[in-house]
Symmetry: C2
Subunit: 365 residues, 2 copies
């Protein structure tokens, strides 16, 4: 039987409690004979800072490098609002992305039929929504240098961030987007600000060339990032796959997630390049939602985004597409049966806690 | 009687036809004795490129510098998609903003009661919405250097844009936001990405200090830009004034505008610093919507955003607040009477053309 090495990094806030549910599910999959899983666990974010004074330890980084997949919870919270910039909770996540080379961030925005009413948009605009946002994750303004604050002679400060993109970085993310689109409706929208940014000009040029030379069968549309944000609000179903840079992807994927009314339900995958020797790629899976410190520790969090992230791991890292399908179905059934955590509560539904939701999904499996 | 010098820059697409309506209104105000207006007109964007090979001529720039206010239509369209970067239509607008020092962009997002149904959001979430987005307009990634594409030895290209902010740039836009908030509900949300960007760290620091030292009576909230985009979709009425940088402001103001269902109705003002000697400030007023080349020349465009931009000019540049109030009322009445251009059409309403809408507003005055 195939055997996989899984690193759990629960993090802060509701991260640990939703991670517990995924751990239960992994053990169940192991016992059910779906595959063998070795589980390791470590700290990241504020909890790593509290323990080690850094947002991720070298040991945890080494474990992440060795793992077949990382399951990441969430990081951050007001408790760490004034820790030094270099060791703020988010730095742990950014280092994982960068050092593992996780350049492709896949963020599905799906509207679960049972939850269409929870969207702030009119039902007909979001019912059946199924967008895949492909966000570049190791480049752009997140990592470009110089990135610093300097104090000038007159006492003023001057802060700089640098948005950098090279041809190969755009090529490889474009390929990921077109490959995914081919398994969907084969339509890609590429979002940038080429009317203002030089990186947008290069982005537009490279995506166009990759399309022409390698994926001419796909439909490609270029859209300005500000207009894309508008169009997502106006009529999100016009999109199939959206490919965009790190910063625009951060915002557009959050908008898309919020539209669905299913924020607590949305998983994401961050993937590295395939190793030509082993065919393996580094991977980290995490919910789209954040650490929600206000409800942490109360058993109110929705574990579905975290559990769905395991689903993505089954599919993209472990070649267990069938188990992933089964898990998706289990989630849909549990929702269909009316089970609801507080974030997706509705009149007449069955209110459950984080662990009751996790248990129900396992029972469905 | 006070006398003002107005420069009309209609631009491209629907720009000219909505500008005609504002020109009619200015002539009416002049004849009605509200004030004396000198009108000049010039080219900008693609139409300037077609005539002069640049997106704004030196002569037009000189006129803009001399004017009491500029009324700008819209620029751009597929016709100029492949003109050189330096002379693309948008460059004319960006040069106006930069050379006139228009650092403060005020973008109200108001939901007209008569149009609440046109929003993609549920009516109760947008009815009565009234947000003011204050966007920094002459700094950030729009203008920072280096901003270039270089070709490396291996044939790869590398593009760079630079996001720069200095203390005084953040201070002055923060003051504009707090000043405006004081005339509203005195609540300011400041949006940045301090968890990833050094400019966000400085932004957070300076806005906090300006608040503490000069506007302690206002309520200040800091919000990450990605979360702000989400919150706008989830529950926009939680905001009063939002202050943010040039790039985030571009996106967040478009999202806010789209939420209202009134995109064709929203004006904006771009203001410079007050000249201590004359008490005057340079100013440009423009609709939030773009050049909409698909409907240009068909008499279908909604002139209300352009006319409302004149309303902002009356208020912020000419000290004619009473006339501005009257104009706002005239717009509300015309809508209340059921007049609708195509973009805001609804069953049972009275469909009118661009010029019919303009005429109706003048008749109401
Ligand atoms: C936590 C933060 C650094 C992160 C980002 O900005 O990428 C988050 O917003 C996300 O989208 O994963
Ligand atoms: C036309 C373009 C340069 C401009 C911008 O990006 O600022 C527009 O989107 C706007 O918001 O005014």
């Amino acid at each position: 039987m195939a055997s996989f090495n899984l690193l759990l990094l629960p993090g802060d806030g509701i991260g640990p409690e939703v991670n517990v549910e995924v751990e239960k599910l992994v053990r169940w999959l192991d016992q059910a004979g779906v595959a063998k899983f070795e589980i390791e666990k470590d700290l990241v974010g504020g909890s790593a800072y509290d323990a080690h004074g850094v947002s991720i330890s070298e040991e945890a980084m080494a474990r992440a490098q060795a793992a077949d997949a990382v399951l990441f919870g969430a990081v951050g919270g007001p408790k760490w609002d004034s820790v030094p910039y270099e060791v703020r909770p988010e730095a742990g996540l950014l280092r994982l992305r960068k050092d593992l080379g996780l350049f492709a961030n896949l963020r599905p925005a799906i509207c679960y039929p049972a939850l269409a009413e929870a969207s702030s948009l009119k039902r007909e605009l979001v019912e059946g929504l199924d967008i895949m946002i492909v966000r570049e994750l190791t480049g752009g303004v997140y990592f470009g240098e110089p990135k610093e604050i300097v104090t000038l002679e007159n006492g003023e400060k001057r802060a700089v961030d640098t948005q950098l993109y090279a041809t190969h970085e755009i090529e490889r993310i474009a390929r990921v987007a077109f490959d995914l689109a081919a398994k969907r409706n084969n339509r890609v929208a590429s979002a940038e600000k080429r009317n203002v940014m030089r990186t947008g000009v290069l982005w537009h040029e490279v995506v166009s060339r990759v399309h022409r030379e390698e994926f001419a069968g796909a439909a490609l549309e270029h859209v300005l990032a500000d207009n894309c944000a508008m169009q997502l609000v106006r009529n999100p179903k016009q999109y199939d796959v959206i490919v965009t840079d790190n910063l625009f992807g951060d915002i557009l994927s959050d908008v898309a997630a919020m539209l669905t009314g299913s924020l607590g339900m949305l998983p994401s995958a961050s993937l590295g390049a395939e190793d030509p020797a082993t065919g393996k790629r580094k991977a980290l899976y995490e919910p789209v939602h954040g650490s929600a410190p206000d409800i942490a520790g109360k058993g109110m969090a929705n574990p579905i985004a975290m559990i769905g992230s395991l689903g993505m791991a089954l599919r993209y890292s472990f070649g267990l597409g069938e188990a992933a399908d089964k898990l998706d179905l289990a989630i849909a059934n549990v929702l269909g049966a009316g089970l609801r955590t507080r974030d997706i509560a509705s009149a007449g539904a069955n209110a459950v806690s984080t662990s009751e939701m996790g248990d129900a999904i396992i029972a469905e499996m």
